[in-house]
Amino acid sequence: MLLLAVAAFVVAWALFVPPLQVPDEQAHYGYVQSLVEDGKRPAGGGRNDPRVLSDEEELAARYTRAFTIIQNPHQKPPWSATADARWRAAAEGLHGLGRDYVRNLGTQAVNPPGYYAYEAIPYVLASGGDFFDRLYVMRLFSALFMLVTAVAGWLVVGELFGRSPLLQLAGASVVALQPMTTFVSSGVNPDAAFDALIGLVLWLCVRTLMRGIDWGRAGALLALMLAASLVKGTALLFLPGVAFAMLYPIWRERSRADRAAIARRAAIVLGGCVLIGIEVLVVSRGGSGQVDHWIPQSFAELREFGSYLINFYLPARPPFIRDFPVLRTFPLYSVWIKTSWGAFGWLETRFPDAVYPFFALITLGTFAGAAVAIWRRAARIPWSVVAFFALMLIPLALGLHWLEYREMITLKYGIRIQGRYLLPLMPIAGVAVAAALSLLRPRAREIAVGLVVGGMAALQLVSIAILAGRFYA
């Protein structure tokens, strides 16, 4: 039943969001177009290279004002049927040509091809139609991943709260009805597949930590990680967590196995991790152009990176810490909270500012409640699982911060991190909600679960209404 609700929302998002108004959708579409029409991955990769898309896509973007309205909430797409007819006439003038020759895709060109190969299926299926036929069929195909993400949320929470279907439903609905996840997943964007795959990785890792190592499950985990790394290079940042989830049960069973067997198992796990690491570097072209170097090269640079992190996470800069002026907005709140809860379109379509403090309070309350529940053993989540969650989150955050820090230093960019980069870990938020609710007595818990499930669906509705006001009123 929850999946039915999710399906209704993703179809609404996929069809209601104007064309190319999902982050970087024009580049992701261009990647698929290059794969299908040119038979190769697109050129590009440089941070400052201007994108040169196919003539067909440039034409559609011009007639829909797709690029001029980006991050410009006052500007609207065309509202007249005449504009639509004019585009159709111009598109017919291409006589089916203009789809190939995507000359430069910018940074998205280094993305691995997995998601785009999947999206090539709807592109080909709808290739008899026009640009928008293909774009919207691709969106609907992408939206199918949201159903997988929802199932993954259900499984992760169920692994830890399976004896309480109510808590499982509450936690799963937080994952399944999170508006930003639904919005991004129902556009042409590899985050859709990545969120789904990492959701399943989380489930198998938690299951391994709870039930011990199983080689069939380990094989499935390896396959999922390989698939995830074919979608986004960010998969590399989850390796420490996944390795921990596999190695910890081996270590836990050390008394029941001989040393050679333990060493063999650990070597297999580490070998799998190395394999994934190599695959990421190969398919993402070594991450070319993304960052000038991967780790601090001097103590001074490490100290400066530390200053960047302090600027990012503290509301006020302590004395004797280097000032990063672009971080004076307290990004812990203005980036992580605001843009993970709701920043639609190209980040410009948001709830009223007064709403976000409530989102921050809910986030803080949830994780604080979860911590108390785990500490008091109201929620029986093993510490190994908590450590695993931390090992999934911290390397991801540090990796994103390092990329942004180097861009600030070398390219003088402002804040580029977005809350949606944390969304693959939404099942952890689902677990936190379920854990926090476990502190309540049964009667209050029932009411709270109703509030969470109904509230998340209401949030979806309000989000779509805000989007309608942004683009169509």
């Binding site: 039943m1 929850l2 039915l4 609700a5 209704a8 929302f9 609404a12 069809l15 209601f16 104007p18 559609a60 011009r62 007639y63 829909t64 004002r65 001029t68 309205i69 410009n72 006052h74 500007q75 609207k76 797409p77 065309p78 509202w79 007249s80 005449t82 504009a83 639509d84 004019r86 585009w87 026009d130 928008f132 036929d133 919207y136 069929v137 279907p165 109510l166 499982q168 439903l169 609905s173 009667r443 029932e446 009411i447 679960v449 109703g450 509030l451 499930v453 109904g454 509230g455 669906a457 209401a458 509705l461 309000v462 779509i464 209404a465 309608a468 006001g469 683009f471 169509y472 009123a473």
Partner: protein, 225 residues
């Protein structure tokens, strides 16, 4: 008998629907439509006696005023005479004027009479009838597909920033049919305004039913251990 959790689910969802309806009923909008031109510089300079026009504009919705962003080089904005011409017949179909004294670099709304109905193609022209120059904020030419700017009949590489507004605002609630019609543009042929009416019905009626059933099933499972 519906469980407590199911009732609260329904109530909180219904509260969301009510919030959306209240927001839509109180959100009043003057904007009839915009050209989506990015205001990058005061790029269309109009000296006394000159006329600048934005031509070949689709009238997407009825409007009776326009808003521009004028710069006057440390002066108040000079008097401007506005005329709206029907693109096909070249006849003036509405006029308006901006008297002396408006502060520069502020969005300035000029009333037109009579109102221009939806569906026409028009030119909007600004004649400087004041004593000093004015520059209209503009964006790169091509920001608005099809329409273009001229000064004294000569083509300019810019588009003038103009918003087309109505003096009497409409609520978003009243615009819902228009919203759905607009959302269906630039879509596959199998999507129309009807699709969004259908989706709205599914979201408002179908989703709560599905969620309530999910919650009820979870409550029953929980109670049966």
């Amino acid at each position: 008998m519906p469980s407590r959790a199911a009732r609260v689910t329904l109530l909180s969802f219904a509260l969301g629907v009510v919030v959306v309806l209240i927001l839509a009923a109180t959100d009043e909008r003057h904007l009839a439509f915009s050209l989506a031109v990015r205001a990058s510089e005061p790029g269309v300079e109009v000296r006394p006696g000159q006329e600048a026009c934005q031509r070949d504009i689709d009238v997407e919705e009825r409007f009776d005023s326009v808003t521009i962003l004028p710069a006057a080089f440390y002066h108040p904005v000079p008097r401007l005479q506005l005329s709206v011409l029907d693109r096909a017949s070249r006849r003036t179909i509405a006029t308006g004027r901006l008297p002396d004294g408006h502060p520069e670099n502020k969005a300035t709304t000029i009333r037109l009479r009579p109102a221009i109905p939806k569906g026409r193609r028009v030119d909007v022209c600004f004649r400087n009838v004041g004593a000093w120059r004015v520059a209209l904020f503009s964006g790169p030419g091509g920001d608005n597909e099809q329409s273009f700017a001229t000064r004294d009949g000569r083509f300019l590489e810019s588009d003038i920033v103009i918003d087309f507004v109505r003096s009497k605002p409409r609520t978003t609630l009243a615009m819902i049919p228009d919203l759905f019609r607009r959302a269906a543009l630039f879509h596959p042929s199998w999507v129309g305004a009807w699709t969004f009416w259908l989706l709205a019905a599914v979201l408002v009626l179908g989703v709560p039913v599905a969620l309530v059933r999910a919650v009820r099933a979870a409550v029953e499972d929980e109670r049966s251990g």
